[in-house]
Amino acid sequence: MTRYGLLFENLKRKQEGAFVPFVMLGDPGIEQSFEIICTLIDAGADALELGFPFSDPIADGPTIQKSALRALKHNTTPDQCFEIIAKVRARYSEIPIGLLLYSNLVMKRGLAEFYQAAHMSGVDSVLLADVPFRESEPFREQAKKNKIDHILIAAPNADEKALANIASSATGYIYMLGRAGVTGAENQADCDLSNTLGELLQKKATPSLIGFGISRPEQIKNYLLAGAAGVIAGSATVNIIEKHETNAEVMHRELALFCQAMKAATKL
């Protein structure tokens, strides 16, 4: 069974949802990035979403854009990103690790080589923010070859046909958008996802995690009751890094507190 499979089975038994923080690799630096990830895991993160910095992140709001710029300021490379992941994997063998990035970084390295490197470093899933299902075939093929789950996105305006596609093809987890737009904690997730979640549950789809506009513990319970398997919080996590960039001690304390509070809210 995959790491995602084991995680979701385990959480279900405990009647918990998953809390998954997102951070950008290389922000605010390579070594700091590794330490931040360790803090998040030690504070209870069930899985990780990790970004590779890209110069033109069109699906991201200001918080994640700035995070990518901080990482790029000191020339964070994909090689360094894979090295951080390998270090995390060496220390934590069970936590599922997902990548969230833009397709040009994959194209540049070559699909086969990229997915191979991802597999070697211990990655479990890859989500490409600018590759919709219809363009995904070559990426899915390489992901599969390297035992990596290609994560599909369920848009808030997904129709029945799109959901059927997702239900039959998704592996790992389904990234369900809490609202339209770009990433950011400023605008709260506001879509009623109960029908969409119900539809996917009925079709026995792989579990769904809700992302975009998730920043507070109070938001979590309703999603779990509606059938979500957990939530992803990116901008809210990255905001803490931005705010305390120059004071590592406070940053780690705040990250741990945020992670613990979010995790506590996933327990039904």
Binding site: F54, S55, D56, P57, I58, A59, D60, G61, Q65, L69, L72, T77, P78, Y102, S103, N104, L105, M107, K108, R109, A129, D130, V131, P132, F133, R134, E135, I153, A154, A155, P156, N157, A158, D159, A162, L177, A180, G181, V182
Partner: protein
């Protein structure tokens, strides 16, 4: 007898929006429905006589088409060689070819019922053309423009404001056209339910490269008829500048099946292609994915998009329309580069010998035609797309000349 396989250029892109390996639809899943809707509407209306009649009427009475094909006799004489003809898109309402496309997309917006339009702009010509049609149709209009371009194209910024548009300066990244397009796409994915995105060039996700091309093809269709009427034959060469490439594809496309017509797309060489400080992805880039399509891009060894440079804001873009990438790879169009200083010389030359002040974008095409003409015979013809007028660039030129206006 050997026959070369013929390519049906009108059948491109394929159904999923690909030109060979280029094009496609690389956007967030949230936008797929809006793009499907746009494609469905466009497919339905593009051959609808009512839609075509409305478009043609606007082009005739609002834009002022057909634009003249002008024989630049003195320039031709000075260059010595082929006869240079200028397709005068600079004489269109708002001063550039951009309005052909905004008229068409505004009509499509009307069919979707969306009351808010957004656009990205580099030189400001597309922003002005969008603000213009929005004013005419009473639509709310927001234009994203790189902060650097807001500075160097101050006149166009003011024009847009007078037309009632909100101009949003974009301060991320290189603060130019690419960043304006990032921001416009972020706006669109956020407000997709009430907003129509009027993309200004033949780039972006399918069906934009196709529909912008179709709207701009009026340039080439007219040029073809005008050239036949004036010279009795087809032109021997076409020359147009290429940023995203909408004026070039508009001129080239109706001639693609005419093997006797050679075509030259002129990219911005900036300080020189060899310096790396330019905006010439077809000369010095590799295929990648940006802004919704797969195409030639300027990027570093890790796949990060790099900052471009051109004296002309409208060409200062690290990508190019996917159809151009395809036309390059199949060898139908030759893509060359003209440096900043050569373009400036082209600007001054045309202004002095013909009394026509070209946009700095179009000056790249003029400069290349000046190189090409002497290599051709006197009875041969070059058509240069004079895609826009130079008024907007006067402050830039004055600055280069060290003059405060």
């Amino acid at each position: 007898m050997s026959t070369k396989p013929t390519i049906d250029y009108s059948a491109m892109p394929d159904e999923s929006g690909h030109f060979g390996i280029f094009g496609g639809r690389f956007v967030s899943e949230t936008l797929m429905y809006a793009l499907d809707e746009l494609q469905e509407i466009y497919t339905r209306v593009k051959n609808d006589p009512d839609f075509v009649a409305e478009f043609d009427k606007d082009l005739a009475y609002y834009v002022g088409r057909p634009s003249p094909l002008y024989h630049a006799e003195r320039l031709s004489r000075e260059c010595g060689g082929a006869q240079i003809y200028l397709k005068r898109e600079d004489l269109n309402h708002t001063g550039a070819h951009k309005v052909n496309n905004t008229i068409g997309q505004a009509l499509l917006a009307k069919y979707t019922g969306k009351k808010r339009v957004i656009a990205e702009t580099g030189a400001g010509q597309h922003g002005v053309a969008t603000a213009t049609v929005a004013a005419r149709l009473g639509l709310e209009c927001v234009v994203y423009m790189g902060a650097e371009d807001v500075q160097r194209q101050a006149l166009n910024v003011y024009r847009m404001k007078l037309l009632g548009a909100t101009v949003v300066p974009v301060t991320s990244g290189s603060k130019t056209l690419k960043d304006a397009m990032n921001e416009a796409m972020r706006d669109w994915v956020t407000n997709v339910d009430n907003t129509f995105y009027i993309i200004g060039t033949v780039a972006g996700p399918h069906p934009y490269p196709q529909l912008v091309r179709d709207f701009q093809c009026v340039i080439g269709r007219e040029a073809r008829q005008q050239c036949l009427a004036q010279t009795g034959r087809l032109p021997d060469a076409l020359v147009a500048c290429v940023g995203g490439g909408s004026n070039a594809i508009g001129l080239f496309h109706p001639f693609l099946s005419d093997d006797s017509v050679s075509m030259f797309g002129v990219e911005a060489g900036g300080y020189g292609v060899e310096t790396g400080k330019h905006a010439a992805p077809l000369n010095d880039g590799i295929p990648g994915i940006l802004h919704g399509n797969r195409t030639y891009l300027m990027e570093d060894e890790n796949g990060q998009i790099i900052e471009t440079h051109s004296v002309s804001a409208g060409l200062d873009y690290p990508g190019v329309g996917p159809e151009h990438s395809w036309l390059k790879d199949i060898g139908r169009v030759k893509y060359v580069a003209i440096n900043d200083d050569e373009a400036m010389n082209g600007f001054r030359r045309l202004t002095k010998v013909e009394g026509i002040m070209p946009a700095l974008e179009s000056s790249h095409a003029i400069a290349y035609a000046e190189k090409l003409a002497p290599q051709m015979d006197k009875d041969e013809t070059i058509i240069v797309n004079l895609s826009g007028r130079g008024d907007k660039d006067i402050l830039t030129v004055a600055k280069i000349d060290g003059i405060e206006v």
